[in-house]
Symmetry: C2
Subunit: 342 residues, 2 copies
C-alpha cells in the first residue's frame, strides 16, 4: 500500500477498495415490527434468545450474526484471519463471550454506537494492506442489557423524555475481502472525540451531532467532495433531535446536508406508532441497518455511493454520575457499488 492512500488530515482512500463479500442482520421483535422488519435476515421473537441473562442473550446475538455471515459466504471461522468486534457494555462482555467460540484472533473495540464504523474501518485497513485474506467486523446492542447498564431496571418503568432513543436489539456482521461482492469500501475518515459539553444522557442525539458534523466536514474536505457526490449520507443513531442539530451545524459550515441525509436510528422505528421517541440507537442499530437496508441498495446499484457515519456517545454511568459531559465520536466509511468480481 503506497502512502498515497493517505488523504487529507484524517482519511484513507482505498482505490482498489476491499469488498464486503457477505453480511448479516439480526433484530429483536420490536425492530422486526418496524419499517425495516421485512429486510432483516432473522428476527428473534424471544429477547432472551434462550439464555438466562440479557448479556448472554446479546453475546448469542453477536455470535449468531457472525455465524450467519460466514454461512452466507460459504466460509468457516478458520478462514477469517482477524475479527474486529465491539458492543456497548462495560468491558465489552457481549463481544468477548460472543466471539469466543469462533476461535478467531480478535481485536476488541469500544466506540459506543460508532463501533460498527470503527470495526469496518479497521477491517478495511487490514484487508487493503494485505494483512488478511478476510477480516470480519461484528457489533451488537440489546435493549435490555443496555437499559440495565446505562439507565434503570426495566421493571421500574421510568418515563423517557422525547429526546431519548430506544436501544436497538440487533447485530450485524460483515466479511471484508480483497475481491468478491458488489460493494467496496473505497475510503474511510476516522473521527476525533468531540465534546460540546452536553451533559444530558437522555439526549444522545445532541451529544453526538457535533461529532457527526466534525467527521462529515473533515471527510468532505479530505476527499474534496460535496454532499451531492453521495446518493445518501447515513449517520448512525442521531435520531430526530440529533438530525436537526446536525443539519443546523453543517449549515453553519456552509454545507447543506438536508437533501441527502438519512439516519439509521430514524429508519429503524416508526416513531409515531412504536413509542420510540427520537429513534433507535445502539451499536447494533447502524450495523443492522447497514446490512438490511444500505448494502442491498448498493449491491443492486440503486445507490452508487453512500457515506456511512456511525455515531457514538462516550459515557458510562460513572462518568455521567460524576457530572462529566457526554462527548461524541463518529467514523465515516465510503461505500460504493462496483462490478462483482470473483
Amino acid at each position: 500500500m503506497d502512502k498515497h492512500c493517505r488523504i487529507g488530515k484524517s482519511s484513507l482512500r482505498f482505490p482498489d477498495g476491499p469488498r464486503i463479500i457477505a453480511h448479516s442482520s439480526l433484530a429483536g421483535k420490536k425492530e422486526g415490527e418496524g419499517p425495516l422488519g421485512p429486510l432483516f435476515d432473522r428476527i428473534y421473537e424471544d429477547a432472551t434468545l434462550g439464555e438466562d441473562s440479557w448479556e448472554k442473550a446479546e453475546s448469542t446475538l453477536q455470535q449468531e450474526a457472525a455465524k450467519l455471515a460466514l454461512k452466507k459466504a460459504g466460509l468457516s471461522s478458520e478462514q477469517i484471519r482477524y475479527l474486529f468486534g465491539g458492543d456497548l457494555l462495560g468491558q465489552i462482555i457481549a463481544t468477548s463471550f460472543g466471539v469466543e467460540e469462533l476461535n478467531i484472533p480478535v481485536f476488541g473495540l469500544y466506540g459506543a454506537c460508532s463501533v460498527c464504523g470503527e470495526a469496518l474501518s479497521l477491517a478495511a485497513m487490514t484487508v487493503a494492506a494485505g494483512y488478511a485474506e478476510r477480516a470480519m467486523a461484528v457489533t451488537s446492542s440489546h435493549f435490555a442489557s443496555a437499559e440495565k447498564q446505562f439507565r434503570f431496571p426495566l421493571g421500574y418503568g421510568n418515563q423517557r423524555p422525547l429526546s431519548a432513543t430506544w436501544t436497538v436489539t440487533g447485530a450485524g456482521a460483515f466479511i471484508v475481502a480483497p475481491k468478491g461482492g458488489a460493494v467496496k469500501i473505497s475510503g474511510i475518515t476516522t473521527g476525533k472525540v468531540v465534546d460540546f459539553g452536553v451533559k444530558d444522557s437522555m439526549n444522545m442525539g445532541a451529544c453526538m451531532a457535533p461529532a457527526a458534523c466534525d467527521t462529515i466536514c473533515q471527510h468532505l474536505k479530505d476527499f474534496g467532495r460535496q454532499p451531492k457526490d453521495y446518493d445518501r449520507i447515513f449517520t448512525g443513531d442521531l435520531g430526530l433531535v440529533g438530525q436537526k442539530i446536525l443539519i443546523k451545524l453543517l449549515r453553519d459550515e456552509g454545507i447543506d446536508l438536508a437533501s441527502v441525509h438519512d439516519d439509521c436510528g430514524i429508519e429503524m422505528f416508526d416513531s409515531d406508532t412504536q413509542d420510540t421517541h427520537a429513534g433507535g440507537s445502539g451499536a447494533g442499530c447502524s450495523a443492522a441497518v447497514l446490512s438490511a437496508l444500505i448494502l442491498p441498495k448498493l449491491q443492486r446499484g440503486d445507490w452508487k455511493r453512500v457515506l456511512f457515519v456511525p455515531t457514538g456517545a462516550l459515557l458510562s454511568t460513572v462518568s455521567f454520575n460524576e457530572g462529566q459531559s457526554v462527548p461524541g465520536i463518529a467514523h465515516g466509511l465510503v461505500l460504493e457499488h462496483c462490478e462483482e468480481e470473483t
Copy 2:
C-alpha cells in the same frame, strides 16, 4: 505491503519494521517505591493528580503520558495521524476523556490488561501499511478507579487473597513511525479469546495463563522460532501464580520458557515488602514496564530481541456476578534492537 507479511495462522511480519521513536512511562507512588522506581519518567506522589475523581485522575495520567511522549519526540499532537487507546474502565472513559484534548483521530480499544499489546499491534499495522506517518498507542490503569470498578470500595478494606494482583497506577504512551529510534516492531501475533472456565476473579493469573500459552505457542509456530531465539519473553501481568501455570502449560506443549520468561507484573513490585501478593496488573502495568525497562534495554542493545505479550482477563462485574467464567486474551509483539536511522 505485499501479502508475504502474513505468516502462519495469526501473525504478521514487518521486515522493515516500524520503529518506536518515543515513549513515556508514568507511575504512582507505590509503583515508584518498587524496583523499577528509578526508571519511570515521572512518579505521582498524589494519586488524584489534582482531580476530584479517580477516573479523572486516570484520564489525566493518560493525557500526560501522551503529552510527554510527544514532547520527547519533539512533535505536536497534530503530527500524529491516528491514536489507539484503551483502559480497563467500563466504556473506556479514562481514554475518551484523556485523549479528547489531543484532538487526534482515535480508535478506542478494549482488551483488558492486554490492550497495550493490542494498541501497539494496530499502530504498527497502520504505520507499516503507510496509513500514517506516525501513530500513537496509549494505555493506562489506576489502582483506585479499578478497585472501584471491579472490586470493593477502598474504605471497606477487604482482605485480598495471595493470588490477587495489585492494579498498577500507571500509563505508557508510544509513538510509532516508519523510521527513527533504535527499536523496531518486527512482527505481531494476535490472540484469541481463550477460556479454561476459571471463575476466580481474584486469581487473574490463572485466568490469563492459558491465553498467554496459546499466543506464545502460536507465535513460535508461526515464526518457526524457539524461546532461545529471544533474549526475554515478557508476559503482561500473570504474576507469580500465573507464571507458574504458564510455564507448566508450555512444558506440556514441549516448550521450555523458564529460562527466558519475565512478567511485567512481577517486575513492577517487590512482593516481599510491598504487600502486592502475586504482583502488579492493569493496562498501565505492561505499558509502563515496556517504556521504563524493556525499551531502554533494547535501545542500548543489551537485549537484541524480546517477545512482549501483554495479557488480559476479560470480565466485568456483571459477567462475574452472573457466574460467567473469566476468559483471557494475549497479544504478542516482537521488538528488536536496530540501528537508528533518521
